[in-house]
Each structure stands twice: as structure tokens, then as C-alpha cells.
């Protein structure tokens, strides 16, 4: 039976450090993917370029799934042979050889295959497409700039699926953004997340003050700040035809309105149809 030195993780780190093998690398600091991430498809490299230079690697929680989305704690880790540069690997094997010879053991040339060629064949992360900016489109509110307490005020966003062209990992690429959800923060402590962006009363074929999927009823008077944001899902393509989904969603502010809410008497007296043809009841 072969005698084997069992070394703990700390032991191996210090042993490697003594040999000068722990050099900063593109991999340093990456926590290993957990099996939970692997099984859920949240562990991937986003592509590697060349032999051992650039490695974009990530694991990511999908937005909106609830639960913990905190990044995994980063751990120091010993370097593995495949993560070494060619020079580091040669030095590492040379140490093996020297030790084997000093102990009178048979030295055998290690087997090492060059890594298979890399390429951006795996999904990329949202960080990789940071240069691609989604277009949020216009957003609106009706009535414009004011609301009647007790009646529906209509808010909407025109964000829609669109494609943005750019460069990804040095190659021409395109990213398709699709609105996954719309968040309406009505400013009175109430917010709503909807699957649709809504539309104007006219475009929806509704009368003024009709409820819409994105409308809101203010119950108190006052001035409110309303924020509308859009969560986009993203897919990328390198050939212009096949799109690959990217994990997570990208939340983008779409509009901010500041508007006053008053009761019906106040707003009806304050406005008349000649001065404000779009006022309530005109």
C-alpha cells in the first residue's frame, strides 16, 4: 500500500505557498459552485478566451424567486492544476519530479491534455452585457399630474421587447430585452408588481377613472412621488438567430411623477373644461 501524506486544506495552502505556487490567477476568489447552484442551472462559465487568460464565471440567483439572493461567501482555495498557467504547471510538476527522485521513487511524466478550445458557448451573465442598455420607452399617468382621491388614477409604461446590438466577448452580438414585470411604487406606501405595463384609458377602450391593471386609488390628499420601473429579462445571440437566456432580471427606472391628490370637489372646482379640456368629466 502506498504511503500518502494527508494534508488539510490549510496545510496544502501553506505548503503550496512555501513552494511559491499560489499566484494570483483569473480564478482566485471564485467560490466553488454549490451543488444547489449546479442542479438549478445557476452555475456556469460565461465563456473563456484563449488557453488560460480570461474566464468569466458566475453563479447567480434568479431575480424574483424569493429566498436568499445574497452572494455566496468567497473562500480562499488552493489552486488546481488545470487552473495554473503553463509555466506554473511546469514548475509544479518539476517539484513533483524533484521530490520523487529525492525519495527514490519512480518518476513518471504526468498526463496533461491541453484544455478543449473555449468559446462563449455557455450562457453569459448580466454583468457581461452591462454595455447593452435596455430602452424603457415612455411612461404616463392619467390624469396627468393630479389624481382624485377615491377614484382610479391610471399609470402605464410602454416598455416592450426590443433588441440592442453591441459587442459581447469581443464578438458582435445582440441582446433581446423582454419586460418581465413592471413595478409601480405609488408613493403612498402602496406598490404593485404587474406582468403588463398597462396603457392609456383611450388605448384600453375604457372611460376616464375606470380601473386598469395598473391603476391605483389614492385615499388621502397630498403630494405623492410615483416611481415606475421595469424588470427586463435578457437573452443574447451571437449569430443573430439563436437566443440564449441570461439568468436574472435587470431592473431599470422608467419614470418618476410628482402629483397631487385632492378630493373630487376640489379638483372639479379648480378646473373647468375650457381651461382643461382633459379634466375629469369634460
Amino acid at each position: 500500500m502506498q504511503r500518502v501524506k494527508i494534508i488539510t486544506i490549510l496545510g496544502s495552502v501553506s505548503a503550496l505557498a512555501i513552494l511559491g505556487m499560489v499566484a494570483p490567477s483569473a480564478w482566485a476568489g471564485f467560490p466553488p459552485c454549490t451543488n444547489s447552484e449546479i442542479e438549478r442551472g445557476e452555475c456556469f462559465t460565461s465563456g473563456s478566451i484563449g488557453g488560460d487568460s480570461i474566464e468569466l464565471r458566475g453563479s447567480q440567483s434568479t431575480g424574483g424567486s424569493g429566498g436568499s439572493s445574497a452572494p455566496a461567501p468567497r473562500r480562499e482555495r488552493p489552486k488546481f492544476i488545470s487552473q495554473m498557467t503553463d509555466q506554473e504547471r511546469a514548475e509544479y510538476f518539476a517539484e513533483d519530479k524533484a521530490l520523487a527522485e529525492s525519495e527514490g521513487r519512480v518518476w513518471r511524466e504526468p498526463f496533461w491534455t491541453a484544455p478543449p478550445p473555449g468559446g462563449p458557448t455557455a450562457p453569459v451573465t448580466l454583468a457581461d452585457i452591462a454595455s447593452f442598455r435596455p430602452v424603457v420607452g415612455t411612461a404616463g399617468m392619467e390624469p396627468n399630474g393630479w389624481m382624485v382621491t377615491g377614484l382610479d388614477t391610471n399609470f402605464f409604461s410602454a416598455a416592450a421587447t426590443h433588441v440592442v446590438a453591441g459587442e459581447l466577448l469581443g464578438a458582435p452580438a445582440a441582446v433581446r430585452f423582454t419586460p418581465r414585470s413592471f413595478v409601480f411604487d405609488y408613493g403612498d406606501g402602496v406598490s404593485a408588481r404587474t406582468a403588463v405595463g398597462g396603457g392609456s384609458w383611450a388605448s384600453l377602450g375604457l372611460a376616464e377613472f375606470d380601473p386598469t391593471p395598473t391603476s391605483h386609488v389614492y385615499t388621502t390628499s397630498g403630494t405623492f412621488t410615483i416611481d415606475i420601473s421595469v424588470s427586463f429579462g435578457a437573452e443574447y445571440t451571437l449569430d443573430g438567430q439563436t437566443y440564449t437566456a441570461i439568468a436574472g432580471t435587470l431592473s431599470v427606472p422608467a419614470a418618476r411623477f410628482t402629483a397631487s391628490a385632492g378630493d373630487a370637489t376640489t379638483v372639479l372646482v379648480a378646473r373647468d373644461c375650457r381651461a382643461n379640456p382633459r379634466g375629469p368629466g369634460c
Binding site: E55, I81, S82, A122, A245
Partner: protein, 199 residues
Amino acid sequence: MRVVTYGFGMRSPVWRVGAALAVLIAALAVSGCVEDEPDPTQSPDPSPTPLFESDEEALAAAEEAYGRYQAVEAEILADGGENSERIDGLAVRDALLAAEEGFADYRANGYRNIGSTNFETVELQHYSASSKDGLDVVGLYICLDFSSQDVVNPENVSVVRPGRVVRQAFEVSFDIAQSGDDLVLAAREPWGSNDICNE
């Protein structure tokens, strides 16, 4: 202890001398019976032969070690991460830490696996027959196949990322196990190229 004596009293000087002689003789006799043992601090000679005679042998042993790991991992994931100590002895270092973290994630979120993840297309990446420390002795490229597997939450809703890669390439690395005659999984990382999974 109560000693019954005849002839000589316990405090008799004659008895004392006799007892002392008897002890001395006995001590000499015992020491004479003990043979020289080897110095326990001296190491046995290092083994002159590598653990595996060929690359093929190393590949087969690593494939088997990974299979053992994944079979038990699948059981634990199907059980929602419960009784995760079953993985002890099948993974070390990075692989063990990552496994335990993942099992804890399953328990915390109520995830469980339905179906199983398969692995295939194993290719030898490296084998250091004369490894100086028994670490990272064998490396493989493997292909994980998720086509017959799903992860669900307590509401039985899939929590798998939409559009995940069905066949994904990983590199796995093995240390020499504590027993000294086998391999144990030490790391599993996604591999940048999926080429080996598309063959």
C-alpha cells in the same frame, strides 16, 4: 490488602530483603523477554510504484469515484438535503464544502430533486502519477446531463433557471483518498467550453 503470613511478620527485616530480591529478579526477567522493536518514528520506505499503472486505470478509478459521489449526492438532493453527512468520505476540500453548502441551501429553501442528474462523456484531463502530496492527482472532464432532472420548491414549482444548458461540461479533480489506494472527489467546476458535451 490483607496478607496472611506464616513464620515472618510483615515488619520482619528478613521478609523485606526477600521481597526486594524477588522484585529485582522479576524485573530482570521481564526485561529479558522483551525483544527490540523498530523505532516507531522511522518512516517506512516510500512506495516505489504509482497508484495507477496507466492513464486508463486512473481514468477508470476517477470515473468510479465520481460515480460513487454522485449517486449519494443524488439521494441527499432527492431528500431535500437531509442527512447530508452521507456524503462524508466521498468528497474532500472544495467539493465537500460546496456540497455541504448546497445541501444546506436545499434544506433552507425546501428544495428537492425529482429525477436524477446523469454524467457521461468522461475524458482524462490530467494524471500525476508521481504526485508529491496526493492532491489533485487526477482530473477529468465530465458532462452533466440535466434532461431527466428537476428541482422543485415546497409548492412543487420548478426553481430551475429557464433556458439552462441541458448538458453542461465540468472539470472534476481528485485527491488520493485517506485509505491511500483510491481517489476521492476534491473539486468540481464548470468548464468554459461545452464542446465535450456536444460530441
